[in-house]
Structure formats: C-alpha cells, structure tokens
Amino acid sequence: MDVPARELKISRRSWLLAGLVTPLLRAWGADPLKVQYDGDNLHIAAPTLHFLNGKPLERLKDGDVVAYVAQVELWDDARSAVLKQQRGRFVVSYALWEEKFSVTQLGSSPRTVEGLSATGAEIWCLNQMAIPTLNLEPERFYWLRFNLRTGNPRDFAAEDQVGISIHRLIEILSRKNAPEIHWGPFEARVRLTDLPRMVGRGSRNG
C-alpha cells in the first residue's frame, strides 16, 4: 500500500544528517584532477586547485620566492606498482610593479617564464608535468596520482643548477616561518581510449 506523500514524515535529525552529508558527497565527487591525452603524453589540469594563494601568496607579495615540488605518478590498475613518474620543481616570484608572476622550472636546463597571472602560472606548472604514454596499453585502466607541496631544503640540496643560486634558495626554504604546505594527493582512474583528446595535437604513436 502506498503511503500518501503528506504522511511520509522525515525527521529533523534526518534533515540535519542529509544537510551534513550532501556537501561532503559533493566535495568527494569534486576531484580537481582532469586528464587529457594528446596522443603522446598525458596532461593534467586542476582548474579548481589554486596553490598561489594563502601563505605562499603572502610571501610572494612580500617580495619573497616560493618553491614548489610537484609529482605525477602513473600506477597500474591494482595500484601495486608505479609505472611512470614525473617530478617537477618550480620557483615562483611575483613582480611587485607589474603584478605578474614569474616561474622557473629547475632541471638540467632551467626554464623561466614571466608575466603570468596567478592562474596562468599554475597552469604553466601543471603543463610541465606531462607523462609520456609510450608502452601503455590503450585499453587498460591506470591510476594517475598527483601531489603538490611547497619545497624544503632537501629537495634542492643535491641540485647543481647551471646559472642559478641554489644556496640562496635553500636558505629561503630553511626559514622557520615557511612551513611545508601540501595539496593532494589527487587521483584519477584513466584509460587512454576514454580520455578526451587535446585540440590541435596529433599522435606520433598513431
């Protein structure tokens, strides 16, 4: 027998529970990691993740530099082994007069871009984190995991960069008032055949 709608009573406790759980479920579903495929590489994007804000942004606007360490790992579907990984180290500064960000990616040949907006700088960093898909099976599922944190002296102590004063960077990172901040890990289960293709990019792998 059907219960008339006006007799179906929902307790206040249930409403309260629903009110608490609904935003949690929304947050659970709102994983910021978006993955795209250009035929050769997996590219990540995180439109809702903003790491140039809060304390790091305060430090940048005080004329300081902030270092970030990003890591992307590709795991097999069982998450038992890391198949590929990409690590990026970025140093960001903020031009006080132009009000634009400058980012240097550290590595054997450091690259610097200037004149970026906050969002532009975040996108540029993530664009450098592409993972090659060579030897990956298009029909298999993989897990992509992305981590980001502000850098610490250990991340740069072993560096021998051409043309960059790493000692100064280590000193900056050693300051007591610059605690490490973490974002993630963010994960996405991906299959190459399911991924949206990036516009204007062809595959060299066929």
Partner: protein, 418 residues
C-alpha cells in the same frame, strides 16, 4: 662525532655561500629607494641619523639604497638585526616604492615574548677535569628577565662548584643606557687533593677550603658613550668553612668594570674589546678578607672571508688576601689550554699574565697560549701550549699540548664554549 663535524662543515659552507644573489627572484630588477626598520611602536628610516641601530649595521642597511635589490643580502641583515635587538624574529618585506620600478625594503622587528627559554650556558669536557656544565631557565617580561640556573663546573676555578643561581635583570631602567642586575649564587664545593695539600703547606696565602659558597651581587651597567660601558656594584660572598669548626667568612667587595667595545667594518671586519675590572674588598663592607683585585683584558679579532685572527691578552694582580674563588687560575679551557691547572698552581695565584693567539680558517682553528700564574714574591714561570681543533659557532673540539720537556700528555677538550 666525525659525521657531526662533517655536517658542521657542510652547513658552514652552505651558510657562507648563502649571500649570493638570487637568480630566481624577479624583483631583483628593481632599485631600492628606501630601507625602513620598524619595531613595536617605533619606525626608523636608516638614512636618518639615529642611535637606534649600531653604526655598522645602519651603514650596511643604508648601502642597499640606490642599488638593485639583492634578496640574498636581506636575510643576513635581518639576522644581524635579530641579534642586535635580541628579537624573537626579524622578517623583511619588499613593497612598491614611490617611483615606478623602485622598491621599499621594510624590516619588521618582533620583540621577544614573555616566554620561557632554556639555555645551556656551559658544556665542556676536559680529559683531565671531566665534564662541566651549566644551564639556565629564563623568563622575560618586556625588559625584565628572570634566570634560574644550575651548574656543576670543574673547569673555571680550582674547586668544582655545583649548585644553583638566580638572576633578575632590568635592561631598561628609565633609559636604554641603564641596566640593573641582581644575582644570587649558592654552591657546594669539591676539592682536589692537590689543592688541599697545597693549602696545608701555604696556610696564609688564601682562604681555607670552604664547604659552601654563596654570593649576592647587585650591579648596574651604564652606557657612558656608545662603545663605553661602566658596571658597578657590590658582591657579598659568604664562605662556610668546616675546619677547625664550622664558621662563616665573608668576602664583600665593591666591583667596578669599565668596558670598551668597538667594531670596525669594511671588507675586513675588526672587533676590539677592552676591559678593566676592580674588585675591592674593604673593611667598610664588613669583610673578613681585605684585598683588591685588578684585571685588565684586551681582545682583538680581525676577519676577512674565512680567515680570522684572534689576539687575547689578560693581566691581573691581587693585593691582600683573596679567597680561593677570587684567585687567578690557568690550565683550564680559557687560559693555558693543554696544561693541568693542578700542575701549575693548585691554589691559583695572585698574579696572572696570559696571551693567546688563535688563527681560524672556517671551522678549523689553531692556537698558541702563553702565560704564567704565580704569587707575588715568587718567580713567574712562563708556560706555553699549542693546540688545534674545530670551532663552529659555540661548538668546539680541540686537542691542546703543553710545551714542556719530557713526557707530553695532550688534553682533549670538547663542548660548547660561550
């Protein structure tokens, strides 16, 4: 231990390399047009003449003006400000200047909170005298500091003294130029057999071997001029003897110290520290020991890059009969390093002459000590010692050799020397 020192060396090399310019900060393209230092309730432009910041540091801060911003230098200057103000933290901010492409550098001095600090004031191991250590727990409220300490020291004097101390200090008594301090110490003594034997053979040279020693010492320090300070006060010392019967003796003295400190900074950094201390125990203060003690010290340091040369000279003379704790001692971690103080003079002397030359290259050190401790009327025997070691900040590790004929037994010293 080897790894600790390697770590110190590595850290030292990193610190020394730390003043390089940063290639990573986009703001280095701007020119500095103003440098401001601000604290709680005050703010100063370093280009203005004022005595809030020492001359050398103010000159280095003012040197930033008109130059392209070099973020690497700012951290070093902030550290120097932190030290000068005994601040909790000194941070720096770069702000837009009044003219395009010019910036303002602001150092923000955060004064130390009224919090509790634990400090180790001495920690030394000597292969002859064993361990010596002292620590203090401090509580600061605005310009008032309270310190409570414990110590067990077998290094400084001919006695091993162990006990507690308490100190109150007001660093701003009406003016930044006046500092008031009350200090109380209470120690139990342990005596080396060599000292007891020497006291038995020289009964009138000094006091008996006392069982306990208490000292209450109120002093005030006045900055007469920027490099010159005068400290004056009174020391009330009570010595409790055990033999032949338990009794108290006093050594009450007027204490005056005149101190001159000057730093000259250019490519070559030079520090000059000179001091004269008079301790006069007079019957007017109801003392059992009547004496006057004069100590003259001159310390000079010259540094360029990793090279440092230190010269330290001390001379002292005591007229009258001073208690054991006030007599001069050599053969410890400060004077005639490498010698055993009980071999030199187990009851100390009333004359001291000492000179030390030390060369440091980074954390490496080599030193040569020469000096004598003797009693008036006795021949002064000059002694020499040489040593090598590592010294990084307060951490020190050294082996010192007395220069003498026959069997030479080196003394190994390790610890934190302040």
């Amino acid at each position: 231990m080897r790894y600790s020192w390697l770590g110190c060396l590595l850290m030292g090399s990193l610190l020394m390399a730390g003043t390089q310019d940063s290639d990573l900060n986009v703001n280095k393209r701007y020119t500095v047009d103003t440098v401001i230092v601000s604290g709680k309730g005050w703010k100063t432009n370093v280009s203005d003449q004022n005595d809030r910041i020492s001359a050398g540091l103010r000159r280095d801060l003012a040197a930033l003006v008109g130059q392209k911003l070099n973020p690497g230098i700012l951290d070093g200057l902030a550290l120097r400000l932190k030290k000068e103000y005994s601040a909790r933290e000194v941070s720096h901010h770069i702000l837009r200047g009044d003219v395009p492409d010019h910036v303002l550098v602001e150092f923000d001095v955060k004064p130390s909170r009224g919090n509790i600090d634990a400090t180790l004031t001495k920690f030394v191991y000597d292969s002859k005298q064993g361990w010596s250590g002292a620590g203090a727990l401090g509580f600061t409220v605005q310009q008032n500091t309270f310190l409570f300490g414990v110590a067990s020291d077998g290094d400084t004097l001919n006695e091993r003294f162990a006990g507690v101390s308490a100190r109150y200090e007001n660093k701003h008594l009406g003016s930044d130029r006046v500092n008031l301090r009350f200090q109380f110490e209470s120690y139990h003594e342990q005596w080396n057999q060599n000292t007891l034997n020497a006291l038995a053979t020289h009964p009138n040279e000094t006091s008996d071997a006392y069982r306990t020693r208490q000292n209450f010492q109120p002093t005030a320090t006045i900055a007469l001029a920027k490099p010159l300070t005068l400290e004056f006060g009174v020391g009330f010392e009570r010595l409790q003897n055990q033999y032949p019967a338990a009794h108290i003796e006093t050594a009450n003295a007027v204490i005056t110290t005149l101190r001159y400190h000057r730093r000259f900074e250019s490519d070559v950094q030079q520090d000059l520290d000179a001091g004269y201390t008079l301790r006069a125990a007079t019957k007017l203060l109801g003392t059992d020991f009547v004496y006057n003690s004069h100590t003259l010290g001159l310390h000079y340091r010259i540094a360029k890059g990793k090279h440092q040369l230190l010269e330290s000279a001390e001379a002292g003379a005591i007229g009258g009969k001073a208690p054991l704790a006030d007599r001069f001692v050599a053969g410890n971690s400060s004077y005639l390093r490498g010698w055993n103080k009980y071999d030199i003079d187990p009851i100390g002397g009333n004359r001291l002459l000492h000179n030390s030359v030390e060369y440091r290259y980074g954390p490496l050190q080599a030193f040569y000590d020469a000096g004598a401790v003797w009693d008036n009327g006795q021949p002064a025997i000059a002694r020499h010692s040489v040593g090598v070691g590592f010294k990084e900040s307060i951490f020190s590790l050294a082996v010192a050799f007395p220069v003498k004929a026959g069997h030479v037994e080196p003394i190994f010293m390790m610890g934190m020397i302040y």
